[in-house]
């Protein structure tokens, strides 16, 4: 532990001794809160996001874009395929 850390430790130790203001509940707090809870509809998509987490959402987004890219590439190949068959290699080539 260096000098600053020791002094910081002493300062936080002293800060912990500071008496906090009394923790009384504000008047009508629970009533206001319960009323607000009853009139606030739950947002399922927020809950879903919170449950899944950001990582899961990003993973599914990455998978979505990868599959979209694959589909786009496949469509491109399918539209090019007949062109390769129908177009002659060279119009000047004569068969014997």
């Amino acid at each position: 532990m260096n000098d600053f850390d020791q002094r910081w430790h002493s300062a936080t130790q002293a800060a912990r001794c500071a008496t906090a203001a009394p923790a009384e509940m504000p008047f009508g707090f629970t009533t206001r809160l319960v009323a607000r809870f009853q009139e606030t509809p739950a947002e399922p998509w927020v809950d879903l996001l919170a449950t899944l987490g950001l990582r899961a959402v990003l993973t599914s987004a990455a998978l979505f874009f990868a599959s979209a890219a694959l589909v786009a590439w496949q469509l491109d190949v399918m539209s090019l395929a007949p062109t390769w068959i129908e177009t002659p290699i060279s119009p000047t080539v004569f068969l014997p």
């Binding site: 000098d3 600053f4 850390d5 002094r7 910081w8 430790h9 002493s10 300062a11 936080t12 002293a14 800060a15 912990r16 001794c17 500071a18 008496t19 906090a20 923790a23 509940m25 504000p26 707090f29 629970t30 009533t31 206001r32 809160l33 319960v34 607000r36 809870f37 009853q38 606030t40 739950a42 809950d47 919170a50 449950t51």
Partner: protein
């Protein structure tokens, strides 16, 4: 912190069933725990009551997602939800407060001098001033750094507890605390240089 005579699980079942009298009882019993956490992690411009209301509102809305696990008390779930809500509020606070030597009281200046190594002994009998200086310095840190040092140094929680509350791993908590203290040292030195 919840009184032992209060049956939490029974109360939770009643609240889930829509009994609002039980919701009142739950809020009244959890109030000291939530208030203490909110007080320690309160953003500068946020009202304590508003943030407490936000915490309790989330708590009531998410009550269905809480599952009782063996050995993990309900208070841990509440602490985690409270700390996360406070962290979101701290993140929403874009600007860090600026302050100068002239803003400090005599007692705060003594503590600042002590922290910056200009005095050999710690000022005595100035707990309120020490708390003010510690809070001012912590407010200069990023929200996660501030959170970890408040939990570790002011609330005296173990790294295991902090890991449970924040969802970080224990090595991550230790690493973040070490970096946060380093940043604090740099901030204090820069502040000192800027004053003279």
């Amino acid at each position: 912190m919840i009184s032992e005579s209060f049956d939490v699980q029974d109360c939770l079942q009643r609240v889930r069933a829509g009994e609002m009298a039980s919701a009142h009882a739950l809020i009244e019993n959890l109030h000291p725990l939530v208030r203490q956490l909110v007080r320690n992690h309160l953003p500068r411009r946020e009202s304590e009551e508003d943030l407490m209301q936000e915490v309790f509102l989330k708590l009531l809305q998410k009550l269905d997602s809480y599952r009782e696990l063996a050995g993990i008390p309900f208070e841990h779930w509440v602490s985690r939800l409270t700390v996360r809500t406070c962290l979101d509020a701290l993140r929403a606070e874009k600007a860090r407060p600026e302050w100068r030597m002239a803003d400090l009281s005599d007692g705060e200046t003594e503590w600042m001098d002590y922290l910056l190594n200009r005095q050999a002994s710690a000022p005595s009998e100035h707990a309120v001033d020490a708390k003010a200086v510690v809070t001012r310095l912590l407010a200069q840190l990023s929200p996660p750094d501030r959170l970890v040092l408040t939990l570790l140094d002011l609330e005296e929680r173990s790294t295991q507890e902090i890991a449970q509350i924040t969802g970080w791993t224990r090595p991550m908590v230790k690493m973040r605390a070490m970096r946060a203290r380093h940043k604090l040292r740099v901030i204090a030195k820069e502040w000192n240089l800027a004053q003279y």
